[in-house]
């Protein structure tokens, strides 16, 4: 059985195209705050894609508390190794801390431009602010992501936590970070998004 599997995987790697490297540059959502790394959505995405016989490697570039300002430095570090696709998942902490929306926009655009220069395909994972931040701010924030995606012409997933946020069963007791089940939901969404855009 084990042997058979080994043969199969060798077969796959020979027959299909070379391994694709996907970097998820994000914050605590990607890092899997409060969970094992194996439970965080980047690892689940990788697992799901491999199950679908895709030869991929997902690099988890999530750092708890990271804001968009840190993105460019961290991207440079990761690009020391080959990366084919960048999933950009930053900005949530900017919003939660009430930082200025134009600054966040500037940072995101800078990251995308740099990745493009390095021939990396960029996709943007958007986030919405919780309603308690006020309609004005949440509105500005939502629009900011749309504008970035439009201006930079990158594939865009409007709300990564869609169906997870606000659902106590899919979140840790802090009511902010998804739990293991929440990450499964997110991963499913990200896999669909990836498949649609690659």
């Amino acid at each position: 059985m084990k042997k058979l599997f080994l043969c199969l995987s060798i077969l796959i790697s020979f027959n299909l195209y070379a391994e694709m490297s996907i970097l998820i540059l994000g914050d605590s959502l990607a890092e899997g705050y409060g969970l094992d790394e194996s439970m965080a959505f980047p690892r689940v995405v990788e697992k799901k894609l491999i199950e679908k016989k895709k030869n991929v490697k997902v690099i988890n570039g999530g750092v708890s508390g990271a804001t968009s300002a840190s993105g460019i430095q961290r991207l440079k570090w990761h690009l020391k190794k080959p990366v084919d696709v960048l999933l950009l998942e930053l900005g949530a902490n900017d919003g939660l801390r009430g930082l200025s929306v134009p600054d966040t926009k500037k940072n995101l655009k800078e990251i995308i431009k740099f990745a493009k220069e390095k021939k990396v395909k960029v996709m943007l994972l958007g986030i919405l602010m919780p309603p308690n931040y006020g309609a004005d701010y949440t509105g500005q924030f939502e629009k900011m992501y749309k504008d970035v995606a439009k201006e930079e012409k990158v594939p865009f997933l409007p709300f990564l936590l869609d169906g997870v946020a606000g659902n106590a069963k899919l979140n840790l007791p802090d009511g902010i970070h998804p739990n293991q089940k929440g990450h499964e939901v997110i991963a499913e969404k990200v896999v669909n998004f990836l498949e649609k855009n690659i």
Binding site: E37, T67, N132, G134, G166
Partner: protein
């Protein structure tokens, strides 16, 4: 008939009665003082901590309560006849005409708060009427920081969500904490009645939702239980004041452990004193016991007679000490008022009285009854012999009940089996070592006495020949002084834990998320503006992936949960989570190395692995030892290091620190952010820093922490002060016992003094003999106690409290020298007095 005999015994032993009552009353007084002070401090601290949660008990959740939950909770509230309020905390952007800023919104219901309040700009504290006005109108109170940032004043309008509020008041400080610990943003208080209008609470909104309860005469434990029964969801927390802050909970535990330890010391000290007096009293009275037996009393009757004597003395001591306490309470309370500027109640309750009475009488009986039992064994024919008799020494098992009782007390009083047992074992070891030491010493004295001058010879022999008696007094002195050393040392070390944050170093602002590429600009700004940065550290996010090449098992999602305990589960989870790493070449003032050696310079990039220093409790949790190799995944790259040292971080310093510290030279290249803390001199400087940072580094967040830090340090200071007071009380008891025991010891030498006098020895020589003896005993016991006391302190601190010993050498030595001088001066005085008295001797005595 029997009563008459008891009366006679009481009347005929006035001196013994006096010493017994003195020593016992002091011991009891110490116990009562410690107990009522402890209760008072705990009450005081928990009252302050109650301000944090504005109530006696809070039920809080990070999501909205469901209707069913609400119904259930409110039902329990009604059933228990509790008063309650509600408090909802959430973050939102609030906007003035000019600006929008993030704020920590606190929507409060009527009756909020049950404890604590805010201080308004004019310096007045909020009162009930103020809060009532707030709850009834669409006004808000905002913190002064926010009013500056938003450039608004009282009467201006602020937009919050879909609604507009008028600024009613501006406050400078508030006593409440945040449900999330440190506040990310300045606070605003508004009425819960207007929350709906803001439309902030919708599906997906985040916040903390809490019921606040006031417990009057209801039983808190019962109330808690009632709520626990109906609350099924583990994410809903039921918290009292002690759980409101980890640091307070921890410090309260420390405090009560320490106070417990001190109580135990006071207790053991007075038992030693009692044992000593009673031993000598019974030795002196052996003849009359034999006489009673000769007159036809059964041993049982003689036993009862003597036991009744002791019980009566114990009861008198209880009454004396309770009376003294009643007199002392108002005096002490006014002293405390003067010192801490706040009303402080010593909780001298009937519970305390009962507890202390029980402790002391049982302990007294268990330690003294075996002595009486030994005494009644004296053979009847002794009456006819005129030979000094020795009290029959009983087999050790007669003292087993006492031993187990003291062990039990140690465990009960110190609230910890570990501390109790460590303490008792240390005492036993001390007695054993004391015996060896004293035996050796007396053999040496005996040998060297022979050819010495008369007074030196007899000084030496008085000590070495009365081995049993000298050893008892030596042990009493040794234990007494050891406990004094212990109290002084533990007090210093523990108080140091509480007050290690000096005003100068206590941070006011935390800054985080400064980016790599902003480091230089920030440093330049610091130089230009001469800002006082108390800490500046890089922070790198990583994940521990292997210990000694053994990969850390990551739990697969389909695996079943097999953890046995919650702790085990936490520990396992903890191992693979993301961690913050940092690097630094120097130790910070708030940390010290407890094991291994700190980094030797920079790490050579080629010479892998580099060194790692771990915080000791983290190392313990991770089960990592010195020499282990750790592998971290830092943004996809494996970073390897070897653990070379453990650090202990002062948790009261409020200085941010890292569990994992790398030697410089390895992590500099990794993506990182920077943390900093600032000390500011004035509100103006703080404003300036806020301005500077937000103008120069828009992405950087600044947190105001001085308020939180101040609130907690205030409690620490109260604790430190209490530790001082109680230690002082205990010292007083120890000193009195030492004094009384040594006086009593001399008292017993009067017969010998008379003989020397009759034989024509000059007064000067007679004095010298006892001066030599006293000098030897006091200097030996004090000398040895320095070591044994320090050793026990070390054991108690490292096993019991897990804190490092601060040796207070100079203070301790000078204290002991003064103690030595005073003790010897008192003894000299007593010797002179006794020598004089012994001269008034008839030939028959």
């Amino acid at each position: 008939m029997k009563l008459k005999f008891i009366q006679q015994t009481l009347r005929s032993s006035k001196e013994f009665n006096f010493f017994f009552i003195l020593c016992f009353s002091l011991g009891i007084l110490g116990l009562i003082l410690v107990e009522s002070f402890k209760a008072g401090v705990e009450d005081r601290v928990s009252k302050r901590a109650k301000n944090f949660i504005a109530s006696d008990l809070s039920i809080s959740s990070r999501r909205q309560f469901t209707e069913v939950e609400k119904k259930n909770i409110e039902e329990v509230i009604k059933k228990n006849n509790l008063e309650y309020s509600e408090w909802i905390e959430t973050y939102s952007l609030v906007s003035s005409v000019e600006k929008a800023k993030l704020a920590d919104l606190n929507f409060v219901a009527a009756k909020f708060p049950f404890y604590g309040g805010v201080i308004f700009e004019n310096g007045e504290k909020s009162n009930t009427a103020d809060w009532e006005t707030l709850s009834k109108s669409p006004v808000l109170w905002l913190s002064r920081d926010l009013s500056w940032e938003l450039k608004v004043k009282v009467g201006d309008q602020l937009k919050i969500g879909e609604s507009t509020f008028q600024v009613g008041k501006v406050f400078t400080e508030d006593q409440f904490s945040s449900f999330r610990g440190f506040n990310l943003a300045p606070k605003i208080f508004l009425s819960k009645n207007y929350l709906a209008e803001t439309k902030l609470m919708q599906f997906g909104s985040t916040g903390s939702f809490a019921y606040l309860l006031k417990i009057n005469d209801q039983n808190e434990t019962l109330v808690r239980e009632n709520f626990s029964k109906i609350i099924k969801d583990q994410t809903i927390k039921i918290k009292g004041p002690k759980e409101s802050s980890e640091q307070i909970a921890r410090s309260l535990n420390y405090l009560s452990d320490y106070l417990g330890l001190i109580t135990l010391l006071t207790y053991i000290l007075s038992l030693i004193g009692l044992y000593y007096f009673t031993h000598h009293f019974l030795s002196k009275g052996l003849k009359s016991i034999a006489l009673f037996k000769a007159l036809g009393f059964t041993p049982q009757k003689v036993f009862i007679l003597n036991a009744a004597h002791l019980i009566i003395l114990s009861l008198i001591s209880l009454v004396v000490s309770f009376a003294a306490m009643l007199i002392m309470v108002p005096v002490l309370e006014s002293l405390l008022l003067a010192r801490i500027g706040e009303e402080f109640k010593l909780l001298f309750t009937s519970g305390v009285v009962l507890k202390v009475s029980l402790y002391s009488v049982i302990g007294c009986l268990l330690s003294l009854l075996p002595l009486i039992l030994g005494a009644v064994k004296i053979p009847v024919n002794t009456v006819l012999q005129d030979i000094p008799q020795e009290l029959k020494r009983l087999a050790f098992w007669y003292y087993l009940p006492l031993f187990f009782y003291v062990v039990l007390m140690a465990v009960i009083i110190s609230h910890s089996i570990k501390i109790g047992i460590v303490f008792i074992s240390a005492l036993l070891i001390l007695v054993g070592l004391g015996y060896l030491f004293f035996k050796t010493f007396s053999v040496l004295l005996e040998k060297s006495a022979k050819n010495k001058k008369l007074e030196i010879k007899h000084g030496f022999l008085a000590l070495s020949r009365y081995f049993h008696s000298s050893f008892t007094i030596f042990m009493s002195l040794l234990l007494g002084v050891t406990l004094i050393v212990l109290i002084i040392q533990v007090e210093a070390s523990l108080r140091n834990e509480f007050t290690s944050t000096t005003e100068l170093r206590r941070p006011d602002l935390f800054m985080f998320d400064l980016q790599d590429n902003q480091e230089e600009a920030f440093k330049k700004l610091l130089n230009e503006q001469k800002l006082n940065v108390t800490m500046f550290s890089p922070m790198i996010r990583g994940r521990l992936t292997a210990i000694n090449n053994g990969a850390i098992e990551q739990k697969k999602s389909d695996q079943e949960e097999t953890f046995v305990t919650r702790e085990e589960e936490n520990q396992e989870r903890f191992r693979t989570r993301g961690v913050n790493l940092s690097y630094r070449g120097k130790l910070s003032w708030s940390e010290s190395i407890t094991k291994g050696k700190f980094f030797s310079g920079r790490c050579d990039g080629e010479k892998i692995p580099c060194e790692i220093s771990l915080e000791e409790s983290y190392a313990r949790r991770m089960n990592v030892n010195i020499g282990d190799k750790l592998t971290f995944d830092v943004s996809g790259i494996d970073i390897v290091g070897v653990v070379t040292s453990f650090r202990k971080v002062k948790w009261t310093s409020f200085e941010p620190n890292f569990f994992i510290l790398f030697q410089p030279g390895l992590l500099e290249e990794a993506p990182k952010t920077f943390l900093a803390s600032f000390k500011v001199k004035s509100i103006e400087e703080r404003r300036e820093i806020f301005q500077l940072i937000s103008n120069n580094f828009a992405n950087v967040s600044l947190l105001e922490v001085s308020e939180v830090v101040r609130k907690i340090t205030e409690i620490f200071e109260l604790m430190a002060f209490s530790i001082k007071i109680i230690s002082f009380l205990s010292l007083a008891v120890a000193l009195v016992v030492v004094w009384a025991v040594s006086f009593n010891h001399l008292e017993l030498k009067i017969k010998e003094m008379k003989l020397f006098f009759l034989m024509g020895m000059t007064a000067e020589k007679r004095e010298t003999i006892y001066k030599i003896e006293s000098f030897l005993l006091t200097s030996m016991s004090i000398g040895l106690a320095i070591f044994s006391g320090t050793l026990i302190t070390f054991l108690v601190l490292s096993f019991g409290f897990n804190i490092t010993l601060e040796i207070r050498a100079l203070y301790l030595i000078s204290f002991l020298i003064i103690l030595f001088i005073i003790l010897n001066a008192l003894l000299l005085f007593k010797i002179r007095n006794l020598v004089k008295r012994s001269e008034k001797a008839l030939i028959t005595f």
